[in-house]
């Protein structure tokens, strides 16, 4: 055993006593090693025989540290009780692989442990210890940095956010032919302050519009904030209570500044848990206003008669996936079902369900850790089987991480199913006065653009962010393209060789190998020198001087890429660019 600890290992060991509270200490001490938790975990069920996925085994990685540094017996006779400290950076990497890559903190094992050992909570603590010494997946570091520096975990700039709200407001006014429909921003003394997941602003703004329509027709006095509008909180995933507290405080400050009477949190499992349950603890402040999930708000509007709904407008068979954060950490299981029964005509239960439901595999920040995607998708077999058994055509979930996780599984396991959120179904089921309904079809992008412009084209999407891949895939597939997506440059090279795409979209900042290196490799390779490349990046030169792409191609005397688009992605811009490059410009304009 090495005597000298690495700098990081020493810092981690020093941090342990500060992170262990009484609940965690008891969870670490109470495990009887009975093994009953093993098959409660979706990772174990999908990887039979691999003990490293077993919750007790994963918990023991942390317990060994606890025994070595805090427990008497571990100090007295370490080998006898299995105490073991960490000494090297390699050992920290192994711990990282376990606590980030083999557990989504879904808490299913915690609720099924006869001893009440809360494995998920001390797995989060282990993540926090590693984050403290800078050991974490690249994606986690990236997202946490955005949330610290920009104020939201997707790096959406305030101008882009406000522009999106304005865009959605215009859409609603056209859709309902009503110039009075507004998305109020920073309105003081509102009854409702509505917060969202930045994924909505960046990739799924329609959910904002749906919520706005519901608030409008319910006659709600509501507002959104120009600050503190992101209720998601990566502190829950990376175990950093300081980040958790700072992010939650931004939301609380915004509510208090505008003197709003209630905080309503859009459909996001971890966002709700972070903002409503954990946030006050992290931020060390008691909330001066009530907070609730938008599911409760919508349900109350229907019950109070403030909006009318017609369930026949959602005739497809629908099932409900319980988000782990809602069901196992916030006790929200019945209200979404009650709401679904009101707005859908064919609801089918999934088994097991509620607190016993299996994880979507996208929780715990898993969607930001592309290096673990193959594991995640493999472990999703359990969920895929659950989904398939329902026979439903739509799986509804009240969580954005679940939306992405389920979307990936549906595609991977080729299930004939779509993922939706409750807000979409409620908005669709709303019955409005005839005068409020305009002739203009609701989705402008679809209305002005003939479908399937990219029919027959094969497009390779290279981006480490699953949300971006999902979004681009949806845009291209909707237009008839065949899409292959990969999370890193190494896989991109293999995909180019194997799939022979007609065009590639390429992110620049990715783990392991950056996009500019791949571009250089392609332009050097006579086989791929003519492959059209559209760079899609969120990084401008000043923010990422190491990735100054324009200078890079000048210095290397490389040809310009066929397209260069900055995030946030505007579907029209991407489609126009891609269609033009592929010689489809005339079709687009038609």
């Amino acid at each position: 055993m090495p005597v000298e600890r690495s700098e990081k290992a020493a810092a981690l060991v020093q941090r342990i006593p500060q992170k262990v509270n009484r609940q965690i200490m008891l969870s670490l001490a109470a495990c009887a090693h009975c093994g009953l938790c093993a098959d409660q975990c979706h990772y174990v069920l999908a990887n039979p025989g691999d003990v490293t996925y077993s919750p007790a085994y994963k918990g023991d990685r942390m317990r060994k540290l606890f025994k070595a540094h805090l427990d008497w017996t571990g100090k007295f006779a370490p080998w006898w009780v299995g105490a073991k400290s960490v000494y090297t950076d390699e050992e920290l990497e192994e711990l990282k692989d376990t606590v980030f890559g083999k557990c989504t903190n879904c808490r299913r094992c915690s609720l099924n442990c006869p001893m009440g050992v809360d494995l998920a909570t001390f797995n989060r603590m282990a993540r926090g210890l590693l984050v403290h010494v800078g050991v974490m997946p690249d994606g986690v570091a990236h997202v946490a940095k955005d949330q610290w520096e920009i104020g939201n975990q997707m790096g959406v700039l305030q101008d882009d956010y406000l522009e999106t709200l304005s865009w959605m407001e215009g859409e609603l006014q056209s859709e309902y032919n009503d110039p009075n429909i507004k998305i109020p921003i920073d309105k003081p003394d509102a009854d409702v302050f509505y917060t969202i997941n930045p994924r909505e602003a960046k990739y799924d703004p329609r959910t904002i519009a749906d919520a706005a329509a519901i608030f409008h027709f319910a006659g709600e006095n509501w507002t959104m904030g120009s600050d503190g509008w992101d209720m998601t909180n990566f502190g829950l995933f990376n175990g950093d209570d300081e980040l958790g507290g700072a992010v939650a405080a931004r939301v609380y400050d915004a509510v208090e500044r505008l003197r709003a009477r209630k905080l309503v949190i859009s459909e996001c499992g971890h966002g709700l848990r972070s903002t409503m349950c954990e946030g006050p603890n992290w931020a060390k402040r008691d909330l001066t206003f009530p907070a609730e999930s938008s599911v409760f708000t919508m349900l109350n509007y229907i019950k109070e008669g403030r909006i009318k709904v017609d369930k026949s407008k959602n005739p497809e068979p629908v099932t409900y996936h319980d988000s782990c954060n809602l069901a196992r950490s916030c006790g929200i299981t019945e209200e979404p079902r009650e709401l679904l029964q009101l707005v859908c005509s064919d609801f089918r239960e999934m088994y097991p369900n509620r607190a016993e439901n299996f994880c979507c595999t996208g929780g715990g920040g898993a969607m930001s850790m592309s290096e673990y995607s193959p594991r995640r998708l493999k472990s999703g077999k359990v969920k895929a089987d659950q989904l398939k058994a329902t026979g439903a055509k739509i799986v509804v979930t009240s969580c954005h991480n679940c939306v992405d996780g389920l979307f990936d599984l549906i595609r991977h396991y080729k299930l004939d199913m779509e993922v939706r959120q409750l807000v979409t179904l409620v908005a669709k089921a709303m019955v409005m006065p005839q005068a409020a309904v305009a002739e203009v079809p609701p989705v402008v992008i679809e209305a002005v653009r003939p479908a399937r412009v990219l029919e027959g084209c094969k497009i390779l999407v290279v981006d480490d962010e699953p949300d971006v891949r999902t979004y681009l895939r949806a845009i291209f597939e909707e237009q008839g393209a065949e899409v292959v997506d990969v999370p890193d440059c190494n896989q991109a090279l293999r995909a180019i060789e194997r799939d022979r795409p007609d065009l590639m979209t390429l992110d620049l900042i990715m783990p392991h190998k950056t996009g500019d290196k791949l571009y250089w490799d392609l332009r050097k390779n006579p086989n791929y020198v003519n492959l059209p490349v559209v760079i899609i990046t969120g990084y401008m030169r000043m923010e990422a001087p190491g990735i100054d792409f324009h200078r890079f191609i000048q210095e290397k005397n490389l040809p310009q890429p066929e397209g260069f688009i900055e995030k946030p992605i505007q579907p029209e811009v991407v489609l126009e660019k891609v269609a033009t490059i592929l010689g489809k410009r005339v079709s687009l304009q038609n």
Partner: protein, 224 residues
């Protein structure tokens, strides 16, 4: 009442008292140690029909309600083994007080037989648990020497419990001596071993239940 040897008298009385005092001292120190860790605070507003106290009660009773957890529901045989094993251990601990201080409570041959069956069944379960711990890759991966030793210790102790149950020194004091010396060793060893999970788990369950009850998770709603 037959006279017993000074060694057996020592093993039944003074040795047990010393061992118990030792265990109590260690547990007192351990509880002080537990209380040194700061208690997390639940600042969020209560939700649902439950409360922290109700949640804590639900959580504590979960161990006696195997239908509430899929782990115990799906592995009911393992759960029953757990029940037999722990009832056997509790019975044997109780017997270590009854023999020296209330032997009349075990005068009935029926009670003695019932206890012997219980102790042997518990020992058999212990053996099954040992085989499972040795045979399953999952169990081996989480087991330390203490895990193996603890279960072996309990198997042997339960067997001697069965032999000592008749409390018949005139037929030979060997089994009683072995039982009481093992009991004393057990009391001294427990605070340092995984067996002390029985001390920690009620607290772990109470804290988990308090939080989940406060948030409306406990009591769990069963699916249709």
């Amino acid at each position: 009442m037959y006279p017993t040897s000074p060694l057996l008298q020592f093993a039944e009385n003074l040795l047990q008292i010393v061992a118990l005092l030792f265990m109590a001292t260690i547990y007192t120190l351990k509880i002080r140690w537990i209380l040194r860790f700061p208690q997390g605070k639940d600042r969020q507003a209560p939700r649902g029909v439950s409360s922290g106290q109700q949640g804590a009660k639900t959580s504590l009773l979960a161990i006696a309600m195997p239908w509430t957890m899929s782990s115990t529901r799906e592995h009911f045989l393992l759960y029953m083994q757990f029940v037999v094993f722990h009832v056997g251990v509790a019975g044997s601990i109780a017997m270590s007080f009854v023999i020296p201080y209330g032997p009349s409570l075990m005068r009935s041959a029926g009670i003695v037989k019932a206890l012997q069956v219980l102790f042997l069944a518990a020992a058999l379960v212990g053996l099954i648990r040992l085989v499972r711990r040795l045979g399953s890759t999952y169990m081996r991966s989480i087991s330390s020497p203490d895990d193996y030793f603890s279960v072996c210790l309990l198997i042997v102790w339960l067997v001697f419990s069965a032999l000592a149950a008749p409390n018949n020194p005139q037929a030979g004091e060997g089994s009683l001596l072995a039982y009481f010396f093992l009991t004393a060793f057990f009391l001294v060893y427990v605070p340092f071993s995984k067996i002390s999970h029985y001390l920690y788990y009620p607290f772990a369950r109470w804290y988990l239940g308090r939080t989940l009850g406060h948030r409306g998770v406990y009591p769990l709603v069963k699916g249709a």
